[in-house]
């Protein structure tokens, strides 16, 4: 008797410690539901075929990496609409510099991360120093980046060497490198938010700027830092995409809707748009929900436009699953 109650307590304490965001239940439901539909209407590969399972995750890598960065920014009560074009500029710049040659890879990586850091810095500076609403500020910078890329490149440009496709396609043992990278990025995001001063200060600034200021935080620097990290995550997504596409085109970012979908996955994962609350594990679940949906839709051979419709509906339902009980009015 006593032993069970103790272990129960321990289990409860463990659960509380791990603090599983409720969105994971939603993920499980979607996965099981999708799998069952697949069993009934299709070949039932989702439950049985390991390759499909892995594919769900690989599909989620691009969105997942940038969504982690977006989560950091949203925790800091800011938002970044410029990630889509940051992804594009990374894709075209890196493949342009690489020109299919392995020896150009380091230079390309250096340059695109440089660009990413610069974009994040500018976003952060406009938001903190000019005190412009982050929505408008990053909308502005995203237009600027869009203009610059479209003026410079109009189609697939350059190419990446075989060696660089390693990132997108090869596996370490049975596990694709891309998945390892995604896990590393999520883990890094978690570590940053929960184990470092920067993370603690980001929650502080996002939760209440005034409290942060009174506690002596350099609030502007924290926000700028979050924006730089977010842009860098977009750069990483861009590199992943270009390694899979083998050549960069200016439309890879906006076509993937990475700006709005990274925000949506963060919110689906329980990060509050108002800031100060949430984390990357929830975001990962949000991203996986999208991945599972894509796979299920593909398995069922669904019309691509209907997929978009369902995506929209699922975003709303996922967020509704934990907001509808709240007493506070949403705006």
């Amino acid at each position: 008797m006593t032993t069970t109650s103790i272990s129960e307590n321990r289990f409860k304490r463990f659960m509380r410690h791990v603090n599983i965001p409720p969105v994971y239940y939603f993920l499980v439901v979607i996965f099981l539901g999708g799998g069952i539909l697949d069993q009934i209407f299709s070949d039932g590969q989702i439950f049985t075929n390991q390759a499909i399972l892995l594919n769900i995750i690989v599909r989620s890598v691009a969105l997942g990496i940038v969504a982690v960065g977006q989560t950091l920014v949203i925790v800091g009560a800011s938002i970044d609409l410029s990630v889509a074009y940051t992804i594009s500029i990374t894709a075209v710049m890196s493949s342009y510099i690489m020109q299919g040659k392995t020896e150009n890879v380091p230079l390309a990586i250096l340059v695109v991360f440089g660009i990413g850091i610069l974009i994040g810095l500018i976003n952060g500076l406009i938001i903190t120093k000019l005190r412009i609403n982050s929505f408008i500020a990053t909308l502005g910078t995203s237009l600027i980046i869009k203009g610059i890329i479209n003026a410079t490149f109009s189609n697939y440009t350059g190419s990446v060497p075989k060696s660089f496709q390693f990132f997108g396609y090869s596996t370490l043992g049975p596990i694709p490198v891309a998945i390892i990278v995604l896990i590393l990025v999520v883990f890094a995001g978690w570590f940053l938010l929960n184990r470092t001063k920067f993370g603690a200060h980001l929650y502080g600034v996002g939760g209440n700027v005034e409290v942060g200021r009174l506690s002596g935080l350099r609030t502007d620097r924290v926000v700028i830092g979050a924006h730089i990290l977010c842009s860098m995550s977009a750069v990483l997504t861009g590199l992943f995409l270009v390694s899979r596409l083998q050549s960069g085109a200016p439309w890879v970012g906006p076509d993937g809707l990475y700006d709005l979908e990274s925000i949506a996955t963060s919110v689906v994962g329980g990060t509050a748009l108002a800031g100060g609350k949430g984390g990357v594990w929830g975001t990962l679940a949000g991203v996986l929900i999208f991945g599972v949906l894509d796979t299920v839709f593909n398995q069922l051979g669904m019309n691509p436009y209907l997929k978009t419709v369902l995506r929209g509906a699922i975003i709303v339902l996922a967020v509704a699953s934990y907001t509808y009980r709240s007493k506070k009015e949403a705006a």
């Binding site: 419709v309 929209g312 009015e329 949403a330 705006a331």
Partner: protein, 334 residues
């Protein structure tokens, strides 16, 4: 003697000060707009002539209508990101419905307005009753409407818009005194702006919208039916997007990307027009001029012969600059 001589300059100073105070009270958007428009006029004689100005106003009317609708939602403290998709839906859907038959126009218009009403109601319901932040709710709706419209027409534009439909966007009243040709689009804008002006600035509804954006809890406790008001706000925004879409259809061809990015452009126009993101402040007149400013910026960039990509970049820069200017000038007043 001395007293009078002393008094007079002080009187002049006072008048100057009063004028200065009056000027300072003029919202920044007018300075920005007329500044740009004067440059336009200097660069091209078209913008000095009445037909040129009328053509400019015709082009900019749809954006102004979208912006007025968006302002209503922004004033409640929310966002409506679905309006771009609504425009796409209107253009694609009505070209399918019209099927080159001008007599189908009323059916098409009523169908689109009904769809707009439905979208607005769903947006309002999701935000009010499911308590989802409107940014996410209308983002979901944006995907839903866009996907739905493409699914409806089968992925590619089908049919085209009849001439009587396109007239809403591009037609003119002929032989109008003073201006000769007066665009339908501008007339529609004027009517809608006037109606919205009374609704927004003079009616109980408008004041309740601002009240909600300012302090939801206090509004609720003062008897404001927050959910009802919010639903109406989203409905107005969607309906205006439908009307804007009908007019936009008159310009470009039938095109699956026609509404893309319009929601962002519209929000930018609102912010340039002094609307506070987060709610509680706005003005129909200023927002109309915010939209005019955006269009003037595009025209200026066109005139300067910049290719489209550069236009995006400069537009981005100008949005940031305009908002910074608006923000700085209002902060000084406090």
């Amino acid at each position: 003697m001395t007293t009078t001589t002393l008094k007079q300059p002080s009187k002049i100073l006072k008048i100057l000060k009063a004028i200065w105070n009056g000027i300072r009270r003029i919202p920044a958007v007018y300075f920005i707009f007329f500044g740009i428009f004067i440059v336009l006029g200097l660069l091209s004689p078209t913008y000095q002539s009445t037909p040129g100005i009328m053509a400019f106003l015709r082009r900019t009317s749809p954006l102004a209508i979208l912006a007025i609708g968006e302002m209503i939602v922004l004033s409640t403290g929310g966002y409506d990101l679905s309006i771009g998709s609504i425009v796409t839906m209107v253009v694609l859907g009505s070209s399918l419905l019209l099927n080159n038959d001008p007599t189908m126009m009323p059916t098409a218009i009523w169908t689109m307005l009904a769809l707009g009403l439905l979208i607005g109601l769903v947006n309002g319901f999701v935000v009010s009753y499911l308590k989802i932040p409107s940014f996410i709710a209308t983002l979901g709706m944006m995907l839903l409407v866009k996907g739905g419209a493409l699914y409806w027409v089968g992925g590619a534009p089908r049919g085209y818009l009849t001439e009587n439909w396109r007239a809403f966007g591009r037609g003119y009243f002929e032989n109008v005194p003073l201006v000769d040709r007066f665009p339908y689009a501008l007339a529609i804008l004027l009517i809608l702006a006037l109606v919205t002006y009374f609704i927004y600035h003079r009616s109980n509804f408008g004041k309740q919208i601002l009240a909600i954006g300012d302090n939801v809890r206090a509004s609720q406790l003062s008897g404001v039916r927050v959910r009802l008001v919010r639903m109406i706000a989203f409905v107005i925004s969607s309906l205006f997007a439908v009307i804007g879409g009908i007019m936009i259809g008159g310009f470009g061809g039938v095109n699956v990307t026609i509404g893309e990015g319009l929601e962002m452009q519209t929000i930018a126009a609102c912010v340039v027009g002094g609307v506070l993101l987060g709610g509680g402040k706005g003005s129909v007149m200023n927002v109309v001029f915010g939209a005019f400013t955006m269009e003037a910026i595009f025209n200026l960039l066109n005139l300067l012969g910049l290719p489209k990509p550069y236009k995006d970049a400069v537009q981005g820069l100008i949005i940031i600059a305009a908002v910074a200017y608006v923000a700085l000038s209002t902060r000084k007043k406090k």
